[in-house]
Amino acid sequence: MKTAVTRRDFVLGSAAAAGTLGLAGPRAFAAEPLKVGFVYVGPVGDFGWTHGHDMGRKAIEAHFGGQVKTTFVENVAEGPDAERVIRQLASSGHELIFSTSFGFMNPTLRVAKMFPKVKFEHATGYRTAPNVSVYNARFHEGRVVCGTIAGHVTKSGIAGYIGSFPIPEVVMGINAFTLAARKIRPDTKVKVVWVNSWYDPGKEGDAAKALIDQGADIMCQHTDSPAPLQVAEARGIHGFGQASDMKTFAPNAQLTAILDVWDGYYIQRTRDVLDRKWQSQSIWWGLKEGMVKMAPYGAAVPENVRQEAEAAREALVSGARHPFAGPIEDQKGVPRVAEGQSLSDKEIAAMDWYVEGVEA
């Protein structure tokens, strides 16, 4: 197994590192590698969110070679344990720490206060500090591309959407998808089922079956396992992969997938620390910066649809298209965005309402 070998290599590598490393000193000793720590909310074997971040970590190792050593702690619960783990990383000589789940926000800030020289990067939060940056990806831009394809491919006009929790990130994804699909086919309905988990393959699969039985012929998900796509494949409908390319699980069903690509950002921020150029910032990158990418289109996407999807993607990259450009009405028919206007980043980031066409 290929993955087994890579994991094994890592284990061996870090053991060797532990043997040769003493306590970390200041950056001035260039001979000593920079230690970069990662805090994961799930197991690296989830094939979803945490897996994606771990790919980013491996990209750092590959890019910097002996200059950098990485460490990760997986399955860290978003409760009282998080602060201890982050502090443990900070006090054991890690100079750059990525905490990769929203629930780590307050623990990260608390530890950051105690370790002003350590740089922290918190994913998906909103609070910064002099030594805490926040970063997130505009996954909803990818949803626009998916929605465009869905509007063309659906026959029943019903798309199923499996949600984890109704946090803004998920809500904005549902809305962006729905708006894009209805632009192509105005009567599209998006049925949402919440599974109250980021990761429960069995339940995600069951939710997919329930949605298909209610007429959905497009499957979209904001949960981490490939189970919904597997169901789509078995039932002969189509869908979109989440976080990584899930084509191996659904060779016919996957139309495309939204890929989380953290490599570039992680490498850049590591470079910044090495060059002593790191500064606190708050970034929200999307298709343009390559933090969100689309997987190759599947065979079920016809040539003309493929062109339209590409056009949508390019328009998002160039800024010609805004995912939430008016006119937009919400579920109850109340106008939310006027013609010619679009939502600000701040409004998108706190989104807690659904656009017309969403059944949630």
Binding site: M1, R7, G45, G205, D213
Partner: protein, 309 residues
């Protein structure tokens, strides 16, 4: 809802219920012998990873399923040695077994994350599977679904009608008397514990080979605990385990459908509570009803026994 859709919904329910059924049936036999093994979740994970890894590596699902049962039984053997031979506390050992199983399965399965596998083939009964409605509902499942139903009937028959089943129950009801009559209490319990482990292993294999054909860490997501609760729900009767598993699976799927249909204005979290609340409600009705009284657990459940030497 058309008949075809209704059939599809039923198939989803069957698929959701089958792992619960396997694990709960196994635990029922264990508990009938007077042993409480709370390590179902850990044994299921061992079965899930073994079944998946062997199927992928050898290409033989049959071998995979056999190995899943063996892996579950092997985990159960650890439990047996500790609790039966070394007289360790059963509750604590079972919980420790779960921690161990979660870790071990993740360690062994690391190389199989993201690897696809063909789902178990459906074994259609020629002639019957083409019948309308009942064809797909009854005669077009994969081998494990049939096996789970057969196991329900088989265990029911075994416990009620066979001499060996009677001995097993005697050991669970009164270990001292069973011992004094000359039955080997420890041996009977070992066999029951191993059987329970094998059944949990099959439950795991169903998850990783049929329900969602993949391996992912902690993919059982708490189903082992539900299975334990279902044994209590069933008042230690195999038929009621079947009922309980299908009820729980049914309400789970029902609430997903309710959400898809617009949620009826009820928050998703509240709908998700339904399977748990329904299980409590049904058991309370059974307990409070006119047929009450026969809910009792095996008398020696969870108690230590060592033969006097």
């Amino acid at each position: 809802m058309s008949a075809e859709t209704a059939v599809l919904v039923m198939l989803t329910v069957i698929s959701a219920a089958t792992p619960l059924l396997f694990a709960a049936l196994g635990e029922l036999v264990v508990e009938k012998s007077g042993v409480l093994n709370l390590g179902v979740e850990g044994m299921m994970l061992a079965g899930a990873v073994a079944g998946f890894a062997v199927t992928v590596s050898t290409g033989s699902a049959v071998l995979g399923i056999v190995c899943a049962a063996l892996a579950g039984a092997l985990m159960a053997l650890i439990f047996g040695v500790l609790t039966l031979t070394l007289a360790a506390n059963q509750v604590a050992t079972g919980l420790a077994l779960t921690i161990f199983g979660v870790g071990l399965s993740a360690l062994l399965g690391a190389g199989f994350v993201g690897v696809p596998v063909a789902p178990l083939p459906k074994l259609a009964v020629p002639g019957l599977s083409d019948l309308a409605v009942i064809g797909p509902l009854l005669f077009a499942h994969d081998a494990l679904v049939y096996l789970s139903i057969l196991a329900t009937a088989g265990i029911g028959w075994f416990l009620a009608r066979t001499r060996a089943g009677m001995i097993l129950r005697a050991v669970g009801e009164s270990d001292e008397s069973a011992h004094s009559i000359g039955y080997n209490v420890i041996r009977v319990r070992y066999l029951a514990v191993l059987f329970g482990g094998a059944m949990s292993g099959l439950a795991g294999a169903f998850l990783s080979l049929s329900h969602t054909p993949m391996w992912a860490e902690e993919m059982t997501a708490g189903r082992g605990w539900i299975a334990l609760a279902l044994v209590v729900f069933s008042s230690w009767r195999p038929g009621r385990v079947l009922l309980g598993a299908y009820l729980f699976g049914g309400v789970t799927i029902l609430q997903l459908h309710a959400q898809g249909a617009g949620g009826l204005g009820i928050p998703a979290q509240v709908l998700s509570m339904l399977p748990y609340l329904a299980t409590i409600a049904v058991l309370t009705i059974i307990a409070a009803g006119p047929w009450r009284g026969r809910l009792d657990a095996p008398a020696c459940l969870g108690k230590l026994f060592r033969p006097p030497t």
